[in-house]
Symmetry: D2
């Protein structure tokens, strides 16, 4: 009773991710879904509904206007819409200058497991002689490696460089083209594509006599929702712009 | 040139682990192996050799005398010998009271991968509805589950309790005895025993639509040496008693 | 052109599995979906449509009448409906006595991967000192172990007995209750339950210096359809009663 | 009592594999180690010792003379020495023409698990839309992919072709060079190299809604001995030349 619910509005409510977010907010005992809007709806409904936090899963063409509106109206924002480059991030930071109490969280990936896997990989990197990444996806995926795997490999490679590690040794002298995967920094990345797979990432670290493996298996986009809810709960106490869910996990 | 080598002595130098430690210290570019002693040798050799750090892989019957000697002589200590209960730890803390600049690191497990796996498991625990542990060992192992797996499950269960999570739901109504494993707190632990296996631990976390798996594979005891060397390098700048390698990993 | 399509009717066409079967038959280039019936529909439609094979995903209460009708009408049958005990199988065999050219295939499991995994496990069993099974399912499953895992373990145990192998050695002297899993013959079975999992089975064999693992991951019931189609194509050339998809795989 | 032991001689008895074979034969209850010879020893000792089967782990330069001698002396042979091309196999077949009751088994791989994995892969291949192979080895290995993985992929690709399957679909349009592995027929092969690994092979098959994985982990060369012993027991009842352990497994 004494605990007040957080009043949440969702933008892009009829899209794939937005609809999931509507359901997730609606199902959370500590949140109150006060608005569910989509393209064409008047954003003023957010204000009328006294939304405290807005969740945006809309479109790169719409998200900046939505953020401008939310910040002006004093509403915190959790954003899963893509398309944020440095210019856009600077613009949002500028807008927030006038509202120092407001928080905006922009996250390219709300899958807790993927974010944790990346974070642990970064932490483990400096303790191992070398690392490789295998990502496995369904055979309809257009890019190889996946963005998450490439990003993971970059984080590991950077952590290795920061720790002053030499590139992992590799005795390969005879290679059939492609066998050893793609180079991302000094980390090899391998992409498996098969029907029946969904989205999986495996990060392998090796040292004398032992290996450490971190694996994330994602079955469907419902797996993004715990991360979204975590963001909604955290954004009100994190003024300013935060980029990346990892910063609100408080590991 | 300017960088001075750390002068290291090893006690239990002819034992299985001690011999590995002798080799590891000898092979490290920043360390200087100045003494390698075993039962019957005079500890005064440590002082004569101006050892700065002593590594102890001896026996529960010998380790307390060794530590007493090292602390009196102003030598830091890294201890892999087992048998430390609360009484012994209090005694060591007492001895260190007179030497506030000295560091003693006592670690039940020097396998970096096992320590990292436990640490990550602890960090991930509060984000998942439930967790289970599978440990797999050769068929000559006497205890099930392994100490590491039981300890991992305890850490996860504690982290879940601290975060206010309810026990993971389980719809099992019909169980063949033992199928669902052993209960350690609210974490189920499964022990596989097969010839051909060495020592493996797999920690599984599950939430709606995704799983996160952390796996450690240990092939032989050479895998403990990077952790020992890390301890040797860290102990001089960590005054007082430290229990557990995880505290020197600075994650 | 010259190749004629196989004319197929589906019973239980509005059920979960039946609806999948309707779609799968409809989508197969060599099959012609000529009837899709459900409870209340007249089976005579099968005859009117000149069905050559009927697929039955109905109910234990309905399937025997359906089979009686199909056999009388000279229609081959592929049956995924459950509830067949020895009595029922004898009855079907009796009916088939009057129609020696007709084939009936009854399969408890149409997942090709599960059937292959069991078959390979059976073949590998006699080469290994011991074997264990881990099955992993979502946390809404009521029984532990799964029927498939229990059946797999029985097949392995039987193959080991047939080959004159002694039970796998196990040095466990100190066990926390349940850690070593359930005994099915001389094979230990472990059941993991977590949200985010779907249906997975892992069969592990161990011998000196090596392990062999066979794993099947099933994401949804669409995975049963290739097995159903295989059955439809094979049943016309396999007169009499066949129980189990493994017999039509021709491994 | 009534069961006579098989009399076995080992050639190359002081080599790495030969020494293992000496120990394995010596330890087998149904075998009698009657000779253990190495370079420089007189092969006549085999005859003096009444060896029935000879195991050859010598050198490509020596093995043909050894086989010539064994066949002339009426001794069956099990050969793990490498370097057999078509010419050599034809020569051995020619020699055996004069001794129709003698058996010679030449096997490039005596690891039962590897041979079983390849066999199962071959059997499973035609049931799946596509397949990929991941092999993982220590970072001292010079070739990528491993010979076993390349051979496995060839077997799968051939089985797919024999079954009339189209190449597995792959929607990759944007690839970082090497990410999708090496092409062996229509099977992609990925090679991971890390310290801490030994020798591992994983074969993945995918179809709508499911995957099947066959994995072999090899820890050390002791794992080859069960295959050698199996060969010794089988070769006396398999007259003529047999190439490949798979033919004596009777799957």
């Amino acid at each position: 009773m004494s605990e007040e619910l957080i009043r949440v509005g969702v933008l892009g409510a009829r899209g794939r991710m937005g609809a999931q977010a509507v359901g997730a907010v609606d199902g959370a005992a500590d949140l109150d879904l006060v608005a569910a809007l989509d393209a064409g709806d008047d954003l003023a409904a957010l204000v009328d509904a006294k939304a405290q936090v807005v969740v945006d899963f809309t479109h790169p063409d719409a998200v900046m206007d939505n953020l401008r509106f939310a910040i002006d109206a004093g509403v915190h924002a959790v954003v899963g819409t893509t398309g944020f480059d440095q210019d856009r991030l600077r613009t949002v930071t500028g807008w927030l200058g006038a509202k120092p109490e407001l928080g905006v969280l922009i996250a390219p990936n709300f899958a807790l497991g993927a974010v944790l896997a990346m974070r642990f990989a970064q932490q483990a990197a400096r303790f191992y002689e070398s690392a490789e990444v295998i990502e496995l996806h369904h055979n309809r995926k257009a890019d190889a490696p996946s963005g998450t795997a490439a990003h993971t490999a970059q984080l590991i490679s950077q952590a290795r460089t920061d720790a002053g590690l030499a590139p992992g040794s590799d005795a390969t002298t005879s290679e059939m083209a492609g066998a050893r995967g793609a180079n991302v920094g000094d980390v090899r990345v391998h992409s498996v594509r098969l029907p029946g797979l969904v989205a999986h990432e495996e990060i392998l670290f090796g040292a004398e006599g032992e290996t450490l493996t971190i694996r994330h298996d994602s079955m469907d986009r419902s797996s993004f929702m715990p991360g979204v809810l975590l963001g909604v709960r955290a954004v009100r106490t994190r003024p300013g712009l935060t980029v990346g869910l990892e910063h609100v996990l408080e590991l």
